[in-house]
Symmetry: C2
Subunit: 356 residues, 2 copies
């Protein structure tokens, strides 16, 4: 078990070692470890070695000049200058919130970035300012649109954070696919098959092969098949791609560069990196904030109080992650052996101490 503060400190040291500025190394480690705290293990410290590989491949600029390249009072395109997405995204969210402060809402499309960690982190930044936050990002193509044999979309997640009064905030954060790719990695490690409806094989047939995506197959959009609405999951992923990639001038569709996970690394990257889209809306741009937040408590109460299937609860988006965070922020975070190994290697390389 590792305390979050320990992992944050280690992560910060690694980012400093590749040349990040101190305040950005700190921010990036905060964002990365928030994933481990919230139970999204696939997007946390397990990826630290991947960010270092991006750096090794010349795809990561540790001292980026993150700047607005075009703007109106409520919109902007931000160029991340190939900085860590973990740093670019919170800065872009700050710009969105500044615009919202002035004109009610702010919407920022980002180019020249890379993996930004968990979408929810950035959306939740808006909560501190009585705003609704929204975040999305495109990603390397792993998903086959309905009836396609080719992979053209990433898992393209969306996060929306909404403040409440006495209740904890509503935080939806989900990929536009039936499942995240991380679910397959777990099954691969255990040598187990996947449920039908998660992936298709190279011929476009539904498959239980948990290695399908590696052998010419693809992840299925949310909805799994046409009869159950996969064209809607495809549409959702497409919207994320257009807002993040096309609107910013970043790469989009099949051209989004891969994150540096083993097996999905490409030697070359064209275009302007990965794209994100971030937005903030001031609650009182619509209604008095307290009226709204009271109604959010009522909304949450109605859903939490619904009659449930035996043995289950009706959860509010954000409940599972918050419950895990409550436990892990006290008891610590358990890391898998391969992750511990990758961190030990980083420790050795950069001469940083790390307790195995």
């Amino acid at each position: 078990m590792y305390q979050a503060s320990y992992l944050k400190h280690f992560t910060e040291e690694v980012f400093l070692a590749i040349g990040c500025r101190p305040e950005e190394a700190k921010l990036a480690s905060e964002v990365l470890i928030s994933a481990d705290l919230r139970g999204v293990d696939s997007h946390g410290i397990a990826r630290l070695a991947g960010y270092v590989r991006l750096y090794d491949n010349g795809r990561l600029n540790p001292t980026p000049d993150i700047k607005i390249v075009h703007e109106t009072p409520s919109t902007a395109v931000v160029d991340g200058d190939r900085g860590l997405g973990l740093v670019v995204a919170p800065k872009a969210m700050e710009i969105a919130m500044e615009k919202a402060e002035k004109v009610g809402s702010g919407w920022v499309s980002v180019r020249n970035s890379n993996h930004f960690g968990i979408a929810g982190y950035h959306a939740m930044l808006a909560l501190q300012k009585e705003m609704i936050g929204m975040t999305m990002t495109n990603a390397a193509p792993l998903v086959a649109p309905t009836f396609s044999l080719d992979k053209l979309l990433g898992t393209n997640p969306i996060a929306v954070a909404v403040p409440a009064l006495h209740e904890p905030p509503f935080v939806a954060d989900f990929a536009s696919t039936a499942v995240a790719y991380g679910k397959f990695e777990i099954l691969q490690r255990k040598g187990l098959p996947a449920p039908l409806g998660w992936a298709q094989d190279a011929e476009g047939q539904d498959t239980t092969d948990s290695n399908a995506v590696k052998s010419g197959g693809g992840l299925l959009p949310l909805g799994s098949d046409r009869e159950h609405g996969s064209h809607k999951g495809y549409g959702l992923g497409a919207i994320v791609d257009i807002f993040s990639g096309v609107l910013s001038g970043a790469n989009f569709g099949p051209w989004v560069p891969p994150f540096a996970t083993a097996g999905f690394m490409s030697a070359q990257e064209g275009g302007l990196g990965t794209g994100h889209f971030l937005g903030a809306m001031r609650i009182d741009g619509f209604r008095p904030a307290d009226d709204f937040k009271k109604d959010m408590d009522k909304w949450i109460g109605a859903f939490r109080g619904a009659r449930a299937v035996e043995g289950k609860r009706v959860l509010i988006p954000g409940d599972p992650e918050r419950e895990i965070e409550a436990v892990r922020s006290i008891e610590g975070i358990e890391l898998l052996e391969p992750v511990i190994l990758s961190l030990s290697e980083l420790a050795q390389r950069f001469n940083i101490s790390f307790d195995k």
Copy 2:
């Protein structure tokens, strides 16, 4: 077969007969028949008698005073004054586009409205002005969130329209459920079962009973079950409900009033009607419009050109509706017997001619 112009004229006459202002009767008929033209038969003239029932029940104001009740440069709440959603939504979209013209984007949450027809129509209004349009609406509760026995959300659709250069526009328009309720009505008429993954029964179990929603069951969110991501469809429907209902001060969750379809009519309505959320973003608030539209052509080309499963095509969101519109705008629109009957009754009641 009926020509769209004939059905539009008839619809306009009916709206005039219940006291709508001429220009609003014309607009409402335009919006309603656009659904029939685009192949969304459930949201077109089949619902005309329902709007009249809303009027008969005192839930529809034929001469509404649609106005902004609160605003910032990029946001507003609009009160629809219980007018036809078919009229309220385009007016709200106009306000969103005016704001986008001035400050880059405009976002309008609407209260005191009712059914607004097809979401896509309103989103597509933005295309004429080189803007991206977005529309959503909440609706009466037919959907059981993941693990819930209670129905707490409507089919809560989202539409996003994006202009391209030479290619036709990208128009995604989909409910946040596995299927629209209309699919069940078709099966009910034919006495056929439904596929698993569309609805649950009163005990929360997956069912093939196409009458399940009428007998204590509920529609399933997009994703169908937890293993295939139903919590994501639930999250999406929840976002639509919060943006449309809570942000505007309209009804939300289980309190959204039913549309006047037989079997789902309630005697009373509390709160401030149904809620919508509409937005517009100027393309050149982000990038030069021509650069963006060229990239959209490239995006569309990549997806349309993907290798497809044998016997299928990879479609762009908006393709199916546009293809149907191309046919129906020439060959006309076929109406089902019960729809023809309901129109004949309206014709008789209001002394308007109608060719059976």
